[in-house]
């Protein structure tokens, strides 16, 4: 098991992970980052769009980041 630290920013609230979570390897940590980013995105109001960034590091360095971008675009009025 390796300890990974997940720093998360959803634009409104940023958390720095001091505890860390143990996962068997990088793939499991990536899956956790994706699930976390999408479930945090589910709780957001997207009226202006939103971006959830999960930066994952071990005790030494930044390893990867998962980003979920929510974008709400009004469709242009039909000109035809």
């Amino acid at each position: 098991m390796t300890r990974y630290y997940f720093d998360i920013d959803d634009g409104l609230y940023a958390t720095e992970d001091r505890d860390g979570v143990d996962y068997p390897g990088l793939d499991a940590a990536k899956l956790a980052a994706i699930r976390t980013a999408t479930s945090i995105a589910c709780d957001l109001s997207i009226s202006d769009g939103a971006r959830v960034t999960v930066k994952v590091r071990n005790s030494a360095q930044l390893l990867f980041e998962a980003v979920v971008t929510l974008q709400l675009s009004d469709h242009p009025p039909d000109s035809g």
Partner: protein, 243 residues
């Protein structure tokens, strides 16, 4: 355990949500209860088992869970002293989920035979246990609402307020603090969030001055605001026997 008998634990718990007369109490006290102490994180009964007895939680905490897909687990319920988490095995003979200990526990096993005789000879006890089973179902309905509709922060807040309210009813809280041997992994499995998401939400709730979890002790810092965050209404716990 010292001065109170296992039957006392059960009676105290049942009296919170139902009326029990003296004849019922005598009959419950005559039940043979086989006491066992088990370690943390150990199976008590598992999916597919045909248990010969129901298990009364005397000390400590127990959880019910179901394995889903490959290696995922959903926690279905947490149980506290006085609960009989596998009461259903009296009538549903094959377990459809798992029951396991959280921390170290003292359990009282009540064989199905004497329990069935009790229910048949004391109709009031049958009604009390039926009511208890219905309350169990009410908790499951609330948990469905929790994992299906609430935000991450509300889910965790709701779970904590529920556990606090149920423990307070049997006198197992110390002010706004209570012992509950939960980990972030278990919390995630109970509310359908990743451990990482739980970690973040707990930081957020602590930062907002709502609650704090430290090595098996949960402290509510602001009860009113936590209940608001949780969207909590205690009606579903049916803690008043006259209602």
């Amino acid at each position: 355990m010292d001065r109170t008998s296992p039957a006392d634990t059960l009676l105290k718990r049942l009296r919170i949500s139902a009326d029990i007369n003296e004849a019922d109490e005598r009959a419950i006290r005559r039940l043979p209860i086989n006491i066992k102490r088990i370690g943390g994180n150990e199976p008590i009964v598992s999916f597919g088992d045909r248990p010969p007895a129901c298990c009364l939680v005397i000390e400590g905490f127990v959880l019910r869970s179901k394995n889903v897909g490959e290696g995922e687990r959903q926690i279905l319920a947490f149980h506290q002293p006085g609960d009989i988490p596998d009461l259903q095995s009296l009538y549903l003979h094959i377990m459809d989920h798992d029951v396991s200990s959280m921390g170290e526990c003292v359990l009282g096993f009540i064989a199905h035979g004497p329990l069935r005789s009790l229910v048949r000879s004391q109709p009031n006890i049958a009604e009390v246990l039926w009511r208890d089973t219905l309350i169990d179902a009410a908790l499951f309905r609330e948990w469905i609402c929790n994992v299906g509709q609430r935000s991450g922060a509300s889910r965790l807040a709701h779970l904590v307020v529920e556990i606090y309210t149920r423990l307070k009813a049997v006198g197992l809280v110390n002010g706004l603090s209570f012992d509950f041997p939960v980990t972030q992994v278990l919390l995630g499995e109970a509310v359908g969030l990743s451990t990482v998401h739980v970690n973040r939400v707990l930081q957020q709730l602590r930062g907002e001055g709502l609650l704090e979890i430290d090595r098996g002790t949960i402290t509510i810092l602001d009860e009113t605001r936590l209940k608001n965050k949780a969207d909590f209404d205690p009606l579903y716990l049916h803690l008043n026997p006259s209602l």
